[in-house]
Structures are given as C-alpha cells and as structure tokens.
C-alpha cells in the first residue's frame, strides 16, 4: 500500500498526517468510496428526489421521438389501430373468432387487448435498451440508474394514456355503454404499470450486460403475444386440455391484465346470459396484484444490486 515513492509529492500527507497510507488518510477524514452503491432505502430516497427529472426526461423523449414525422404523435395511435384492423380481418372475420363474442363486441375486445399488450411489450423492449442506449448519459451524470428504465416505462404509460382516448371511442362505437366497472380501469392499469416497471428494470440489467438479448426480444414478445390470446380467445381453444395448462394460461400476467381491463371496459363480453360469451378466470385481481407488486419489488432489488456497474457497459 505504500504508494508514496517519489521524492516530490504534492500528494503526500503533511504534519500530523505524515506517513499515512492513502487508505488510512481517507478513513481518517471520513472520505467515502466514490460511486459506491447506496443502501436500498437511501437509493429509494435519491430516486424519489429525481422524480421530476424522470418525468421531464420521459416527456422530452416522447416529444422528440416524432419530430420528424408530419403527423407527429398521432402515429402512436395510428400504428396500433392499423394492427387492430389487420387482426380484425384475419382473426375476427377469416378465422371467425368474433363468433365467440356477444354481437359486435369483438372489435372492442381486440382493441383493448392490442393496446394493453403493447404497453407491456414496449416496456420490455425499451427497458432492454434503457441502459445500453444511454451509456453517454450514465457516464456523464450522477443519478440513480433506475431512473432510466422507469422513465422509459413512464413514456409507454403516457403513450397508452393517449391511446386510451381512441380506445374509449372504439368501445363506445361497439355499442358498449359506460358503467361503474369503468372505475376498475384505474387500479388495473396501475397494477400493470407496476408489473411493467419491474420487468423493465430486470430487462435493463440483463440488457446492459448481454447486448445479444435485444435480438431475441422481438421473437419472445411475438410468441408471448400469440400465447396470451391478444386477438383470439385462448380459453375457447384449450377447454379440453389438461387442467394445469389451463391454470398456467390463466396466470400468465399478460392475460391477467388484458382480462382485467377487458372486463372493466366491456363487462358485457363476460355476461353469462348471452349465448356467446367469454368467462373470466377466477382470482384475476389476486393474480394481477401479486404479479404487479411482486415483479416490481423483484425488479427493483435486482436492478439496484448492480447499480455501480452500469457505467462500464
């Protein structure tokens, strides 16, 4: 540890401190290790102090994203609507999925599913790149790194809220009147946002170490989309499958949040007295709560564990 070897050293401690090693000197004056990971509680406090930055960063990104496009932020709504159109044609009309739904409600069911799933999909995708794409920012400024994946989830939430306007119009156009269940939209979205933030934090840490993962994500997300029954009803097709597979499908978080929001927006789809209807699997709110809170806590701690390493890239 005796690094003071040169004869001329402005570094060497003087007076009473003469002869101390750098480590001893640092200890004596209570200097802290630069860039050390703070404890979980003080980390959370720091993060809370940066909430305005997170919000400003998210809003700025959202605005900047579409400055080149003439229609601007309208594309956030147009793209998923075009998707809905194609899905309606292929799955609803050609594959006759809409026959399993009460008259005219399939389009509402489909649109809710597409928008809700896209929220999770985008959160995962942008979370994966949150650290890797912002290394410059991480190497230049000090802030809790969790700000980035959280900001990207906030961006997706803002996009979803814009899409919600279109969604409400679609639901009304499908002949579904607003009711008390619409109040459930808020808690359902809140839980989904918690879940998405958690996933985004997990993916951000993985993506920061393994850049290959971003090549795999689009495939994983597409597989997840088809398995979650975004544009057709999975439960109608697996009724005679083993029980454990049905349970597994029912606790799939994407299905849980889609079911919760579909039920909130259009309870008529799940009306048992109609000849063609969907059944809401049991305990969906419990699953939604468990996934949301559980994933958020796991993701937050998992991300925080590597806090001091994100600058290395």
């Amino acid at each position: 540890m005796s690094t003071v070897s040169e004869p001329v050293s402005l570094s060497a401690p003087r007076g009473a401190d003469a002869g101390l090693t750098p480590k001893q000197l640092a200890d004596k004056y209570g200097l802290a290790v630069s860039g050390r990971r703070p404890g979980l509680i003080s980390y959370t406090k720091q993060l809370w102090a940066r909430r305005h930055f997170i919000w400003a960063f998210a809003t700025a990104r959202l605005v900047a994203q579409y400055t080149d496009a003439k229609l601007g932020q309208l594309w956030q709504v147009v793209t998923p609507l075009l998707n809905c159109g194609v899905f309606y044609l292929v799955f609803g009309v050609i594959l006759k999925s809409k026959d399993n739904f009460p008259e005219g409600t399939y389009i509402a069911w489909l649109c809710i599913g597409v928008f809700v799933f896209q929220f999770t999909q985008n959160a995962v995708q942008s979370g994966t790149r949150a650290i890797a794409d912002n290394l410059g920012l991480i190497r230049a400024l000090h802030f809790p790194r969790a700000s980035l994946p959280i900001a990207f989830t906030v961006i997706q939430l803002q996009q979803l809220l814009i899409s919600m306007v279109v969604l409400v119009v679609t639901v009304l156009a499908a002949g579904i009147a607003p009711g008390r269940t619409w109040l459930l939209v808020l808690p359902a979205l809140f839980l989904q946002t918690l879940f998405n933030t958690g996933v985004s934090l997990v993916m951000a840490r993985i993506g920061s170490k393994t850049s290959d993962i971003s090549q795999l994500i689009p495939f994983v997300m597409r597989a997840w989309m088809f398995l979650s029954g975004v544009m057709f009803s999975i439960q109608d097709n697996i009724q005679h499958w083993p029980k454990y597979i049905q349970t597994l499908m029912a606790i799939n978080p994407a299905s849980v949040y889609m079911d919760l929001l579909r039920h909130a927006f259009a309870p008529v789809i799940y009306n048992k007295h109609l000849p063609a209807h969907q059944t809401l699997p049991p305990h969906q709110w419990a699953y939604g709560l468990a996934w949301g809170v559980g994933m958020f806590v796991v993701g937050y701690v998992f991300f925080w564990k590597a806090e001091e390493e994100y600058g290395r890239g």
Binding site: D17, P22, Y29, L31, V33, F53, H142
Partner: protein
C-alpha cells in the same frame, strides 16, 4: 527538482499543518470492455465457430485505460490533468466522479464530485428552453431551483442576443451556440469537488471571458477543482498543481510550471 522539493518540505515544516484531503486516489486500475472489437464478429460462420470452439467472448476486448494511478488532492487545490489524446485523463475524471467502476484500487471522495458537463442529457430535437430545464433537472436541481436559475442561464449563454433562439430546437443552433448553451447549463450548479473536462475552449472571445470568470467563481465555492485540457495556457491560469498522465500511468505530479514546462518540452522524468 531536488531543490524545489527541499524548499517545499521546509515550507511545510514551518506550517506543519495537516491539510484536509478531498479526493484520495489509491492505486486505481480501470478497464473498459469493448464489445465487437474482434474481427468478423458479425459474420455467422465466425459466430458459430466461436460458439463451438470457445464458450465466451472472442469479440470482447479489454482496454486497460488507467494502470495504477495514485494521488491525493486537498481542499482548495486546483489540479490540472494533462497528457496526450487517449492517455486516460477523461477516464480518470469519470472514475473520480464515480461514474466508471474501478477494476482494482479505491477512490475516496469528500461528498459527491460532479463532472461539469450535461451534453449527454440534452436532446437535439428539443428547444433550447426545454433543454435548459431537462439539463438542470438531470444535475439534480429541484423544479423551483430551475425556475430561479432559468433566466440567468439563458442570459449567460447569450443565445437570445440575436433574436429568440431559445424557443428553437437545438439542432438548428450553430455548433458554437450549442456549446455555449451546454456550458451555461452545466455551470449553473455549484459543487464540492468539481471536475471540468475541456470546457474552456468553447464559444467566441466574449463568451470565453465570461466562462473563465464563471469557473473562478465555481472554484471559489468548490473545495477542489480538476481540469482536463489540451490548452496549456488555461491550465497555467487556473491550476497551481498539475498531474501528467501518459498511457494510463502517472508520469509526473507537481507544481504546474514545472510539470507543464516539462510536458511542453517532452521531457519525461
């Protein structure tokens, strides 16, 4: 060299005071890992053969940017870091700021050192106005503080001298205007330990005068200032102590006149 050494020691013995250290850098090594540096990383056959032959990472190369540097900085010092391009000066600064993890050794600091620079937080598509707000928030200011400093920052940058440019996107700025706004945002906050990376050489004559003055003010309120620059004159003006780094190793650490003089003559001790 021995003479100056002795005289300095005598001076110290006269004073015989222990100085308060603000930054202790103890035998620090920093290694960058660069992905995709290997040859033919993208081709499928090479990727396959890599998977078959070895398990991991032929495409990852390690760059040993800082190799065992030690020094201690004390309160009230302004220290220049000099060395040729790629010698590890900026890496050293980022490590002091705690932004780059060290491979080996330790960096101990008094409070949170801050790098003077917000370039990365700014977005070219946004207006100057929004960038001022975003940059200040990124540095950890509260919205109230941002509001209070906003006009000062804009006036200091001189962006609005020739019309209302602050409400235009930053991509429409000339490179000088952009640099001026970035410096103005970065310099709006005071710090305990301030790290400055080549910030002095931006803008026109009038702006350079203003920024030198601002850095002096920052120095006054900061405990210790580090300055990385290729402009030896600004090092001479600002710093009384200079550390010369070459290829990640500390070449010389001493009074500015001596170190910069030797650096200019290319005399390594």
């Amino acid at each position: 060299m021995a003479d100056t050494d002795l005289s300095k020691r005598d001076l110290v013995r006269d004073a015989d005071v222990a100085r308060q250290p603000t930054v202790v850098v103890d035998d620090v090594h920093i290694v960058y890992r660069v992905h995709g540096a290997g040859s033919g990383k993208g081709s499928a056959t090479s990727a396959m053969s890599r998977i078959i032959s070895r398990k991991r990472a032929a495409g990852v190369r390690e760059v040993h940017a800082v190799k065992g540097i030690s020094f201690t900085a004390y309160k009230g010092e302004a220290i220049g870091l000099i060395g040729s391009n790629g010698s590890g000066k900026s890496t050293m600064l980022a490590a002091i700021a705690g932004l780059l993890p060290t491979e080996k050794g330790g960096i101990y600091t008094n409070g949170q050192p801050s790098l003077l620079g917000v370039n990365a937080a700014l977005m070219n598509e946004l207006t100057g106005e929004r960038n001022v707000i975003l940059g200040c928030l990124a540095m950890g200011m509260t919205p109230a503080q941002v509001k209070a400093r906003y006009q000062e920052i804009v006036d200091f940058s001189g962006i609005n001298d020739k019309g209302d440019f602050i409400s235009l996107p930053m991509r429409t700025y000339s490179s000088g205007m952009g640099a001026r706004l970035r410096f103005s945002i970065a310099a709006a906050k005071t710090h305990d330990v301030l790290l400055i990376d080549e910030a002095l050489a931006t803008g026109d004559q009038a702006f350079q005068q203003r920024s030198k003055k601002r850095i002096d003010e920052l120095r006054g309120s900061a405990g210790t200032v580090f300055l990385v620059s290729h402009d030896n004159n600004s090092i001479r003006e600002v710093c009384e102590r200079t550390i010369w780094i070459e290829a990640g190793e500390l070449v010389m650490d001493g009074p500015t006149e001596e170190v910069v003089g030797r650096y200019e003559r290319g005399e390594r001790p």
